[in-house]
């Protein structure tokens, strides 16, 4: 429980550092806006990423990385990064970055018990990374599906409305044109 207490105590600081690590994946000229603008509608990306990170942190610290609990927070972040200019590894790097951050945080602590607890916590993070991969793929597959659907709806819908196609049991008369 020593690690839990330690992290819970430093929550605000760690969430802030984690958020900064995510921001570092964006160009320097842009980071200040995502950091500074607090209005959630003017800065939806900064807001959602920060909220997602805070939720994940809470779940990790509480050892409550149940898939259903973490999915909305991961989705909040990954859905955005899945349509930005990141490779899959870049888009999901933020989960791994948290490991690095944690190790740095406790590197100055002398309590040997922390290392054992950290191992356990890293297991949770590994599961989280795998879940993140599933969510990322879900987002990408959604994009491909939407791309196909748009085209299909446009073409088939237009043909149907122009009375140029018929389906079994729905044969239509070809109407006389009235121009």
């Amino acid at each position: 429980m020593a690690l839990h207490d330690l992290l819970a105590k430093r929550k605000d600081d760690i969430v802030k550092k984690w958020f900064e690590l995510v921001l570092e994946t964006y160009p320097e000229d842009s980071r200040d806006f995502f950091r500074r603008q607090k209005n959630r509608f003017a800065n939806p990306m900064g807001y959602n990423i920060k909220e997602g990170i805070a939720g994940l942190f809470e779940a990790i610290v509480e050892h409550d990385c149940d898939h259903e609990k973490t999915a909305p927070y991961l989705d909040q972040i990954i859905r955005i990064r899945a349509v930005q200019e990141f490779s899959p590894s870049e888009a999901l790097s933020f989960v791994m970055d948290f490991k690095k951050l944690l190790r740095n945080e406790i590197s100055t602590e002398s309590d040997a018990g922390l290392a054992v607890e950290l191992d356990k916590l890293e297991e949770d993070l590994d599961k989280l990374a795998l879940q993140a991969f599933d969510i990322y793929m879900g987002c990408r597959e959604r994009i491909f599906e939407l791309r196909v659907n748009e085209l299909r709806n446009l073409m088939f819908g237009a043909l149907e409305r122009a009375n140029l196609v018929s389906f079994p049991g729905e044969e239509k008369e070809v109407k006389e044109n009235k121009i």
Partner: protein, 543 residues
């Protein structure tokens, strides 16, 4: 297996972007962000330069040898012709007020999507070639040469601007970044480098009168299909007329309302309204030639916009109508409101529009002779001319997305809301900094609603979707209303990615649902065939 990196090599990846200054960071074309290049046949038909097979992905864009001269001459010509362009090149003090207002920047974090920097892509070339300071001090004065990399960068980022003008609302000097993009795209078009998603509609519109290339007989078939659907839902047969000479009013709407869901339901709404008003004296006709309200020429060049726009007045004159009623569209209304009168007007053969039902004179349209259908319908409601049953939309919890052009180019904010509040019982606004003049773009405007650039559209539409998600979670909103055909084409996909519980509608679809027609049967479904709440039993009894 030699090329497969080892785990330790993978672990060394640095995710931090390069920290080079923007001028020294050439644009890298990423898939999902750019649209296919214009097909030569679509350039040839409208006599545009440099038709050839090409792909933006290729190293060689097959430009003429003197391409640089063509672009710089084109820039010089436009600096002389458009004082606004010259002014916008000179007066920006780079205060940054616009920087974080662009939906593409907010959704991507790419600094070159900051309106100030996107404009700077052109300004830097302007400074180097057309200002003394730039000629003498070059980079020190913010100037740079026009190179192939710079031209490709223009192309990449000018097709990442939807000309929505949100940034210009915040500019203390009133710089209209959309106008910079418009001129930039004109320069790109001098070399035949339009995107096909714009050029194909331009070519089609030129040939057949609408973006998809629907020919007159197919256009009629499509609308008759709607008449069948309306009859199924209401039991009333509506009988629109086409190309009818001597009608009082010509109706022109974006063709998206005819060929793409959910715009098609909006078209059914128009048809129901016109049928309702027929016995009250409405004398209106559709045209199979002026069968497009939209104008993708506006995303190509001023000349092309003028050329395509001319068909509206030409058809109005041919049919001998008194005035034109226009459907729910976005950029169509910017063109009508701000350009048409000087492009092709004044149309002295038309009359100042007067509602045949209420007698209201639409004085603001005295010059263009063209009235927005929301103005027309709002006026009807204001004068109690419509029998409405808003409970027929009770299955919907509605919010309204101000389409960029009607909101910011026309100040058209109240009429659609007034109509919605009269035909629906459940309406909630999105947060104030995401609507009205500050509305966020759908992310697909100005010809960018292609399929190949879907990632760009999803991130560009994210600020809009984020606000919709908020009212969905807070008020249970399940329907996003809008008055733009590109919105109706693009927002459903945006919603499916970000807020799948919310669908998209035009305002006149809601009118069509609520309007009580003489002789209609008990309605058990809305225009989409969705069961109406409380009416399911009646449907069962019928079965």
């Amino acid at each position: 297996m030699a090329d497969v990196p080892k785990p330790e090599e993978l672990a060394k990846i640095d995710h931090t972007p390069p920290e080079t200054p923007w001028m020294e960071t050439p644009a890298v074309l990423k898939d999902g962000m750019w649209c296919y290049g214009a097909h030569p046949k679509n350039l040839e038909i409208v006599d545009m330069p440099n038709p050839r097979e090409w792909s933006p992905r290729d190293e060689d864009w097959k430009l003429p040898d003197n391409w640089k001269e063509i672009v710089l001459d084109g820039m010089k010509d436009r600096l002389g012709k458009f004082r606004s362009f010259k002014l916008f090149m000179d007066i920006c003090v780079r205060c940054g007020a616009c920087a974080d207002k662009c939906h593409y920047f907010i959704g991507s974090g790419d600094p070159k999507n900051m309106p100030v920097l996107r404009a700077e892509l052109l300004r830097s070339v302007y400074r180097k070639n057309f200002t003394l300071g730039g000629k003498l001090f070059k980079k020190l004065a913010g100037g740079r040469d026009l190179t192939m990399d710079v031209f490709k960068e223009w192309w990449y980022y000018l097709f990442q601007c939807s000309e929505c003008r949100r940034c210009s609302v915040f500019c203390p000097y009133g710089i209209d970044t959309a106008e910079i993009t418009i001129i930039g795209r004109e320069l790109i078009n001098l070399l035949g480098c339009n995107i096909d998603w714009i050029q194909a509609p331009v070519a089609n519109c030129y040939r057949t009168g609408n973006h998809l290339g629907i020919q007159p007989h197919a256009y009629v078939s499509m609308i008759e299909f709607f008449c069948d659907e309306i009859e199924d839902v209401t039991g009333v047969r509506v009988n629109p007329t086409f190309n009818r000479k001597g009608a009082e009013i010509l109706f022109i709407t974006p063709s998206g309302d005819v060929f793409a869901d959910p715009g098609t339901y909006t078209a059914m709404g128009y048809l129901i309204l016109f049928h309702y008003l027929e016995s009250m004296g409405l004398d209106i006709t559709w045209s199979t030639y002026a069968s497009e309200g939209g104008n993708f020429g506006f995303f190509t060049s001023h000349e092309m916009a003028k050329r395509l726009n001319a068909k509206m007045y030409a058809e109005a004159e041919r049919l001998g109508v008194k005035w034109i009623l226009g459907g729910e569209c976005g950029h169509m209304w910017r063109v009508v409101h701000q350009y048409m009168d000087t492009f092709n007007g004044p149309p002295d053969f038309l009359e100042e529009p007067v509602s045949p039902i209420t007698g209201t004179k639409f004085e603001h349209a005295k010059s263009t002779k063209m009235v927005h259908i929301c103005e027309f319908t709002a006026d009807l409601i204001r004068h109690n001319k419509l029998k409405l049953d808003p409970s027929r939309n009770d299955n919907l919890v509605v919010t309204f997305h101000d389409s960029c052009n009607p909101a910011r180019a026309m100040g058209f904010l109240e009429e659609p809301r007034y109509i919605i509040k009269n035909v629906c019982n459940n309406f909630y606004e999105m947060p104030s900094n995401t609507i009205r003049e500050e509305t966020f773009c759908c992310g697909s405007g100005a010809g960018l609603n292609a399929g190949e650039n879907l990632e760009l559209r999803m991130r560009g539409g994210f600020p809009r979707a984020n606000a919709v998600k908020h009212v969905h979670e807070k008020h249970g909103v399940n329907m996003l209303a809008c008055i733009c055909a590109i919105d109706r084409a693009a927002l459903p996909t945006l919603m499916e990615y970000w807020v799948p519980e919310v669908e998209v509608t035009g305002v006149h679809e809601l009118v069509g649902n609520a309007l009580i027609l003489d002789g209609e049967k008990k309605r058990t479904t809305d225009l989409r065939g969705e069961p109406l709440p409380g009416m399911e039993d009646i449907e069962d009894e019928d079965l």
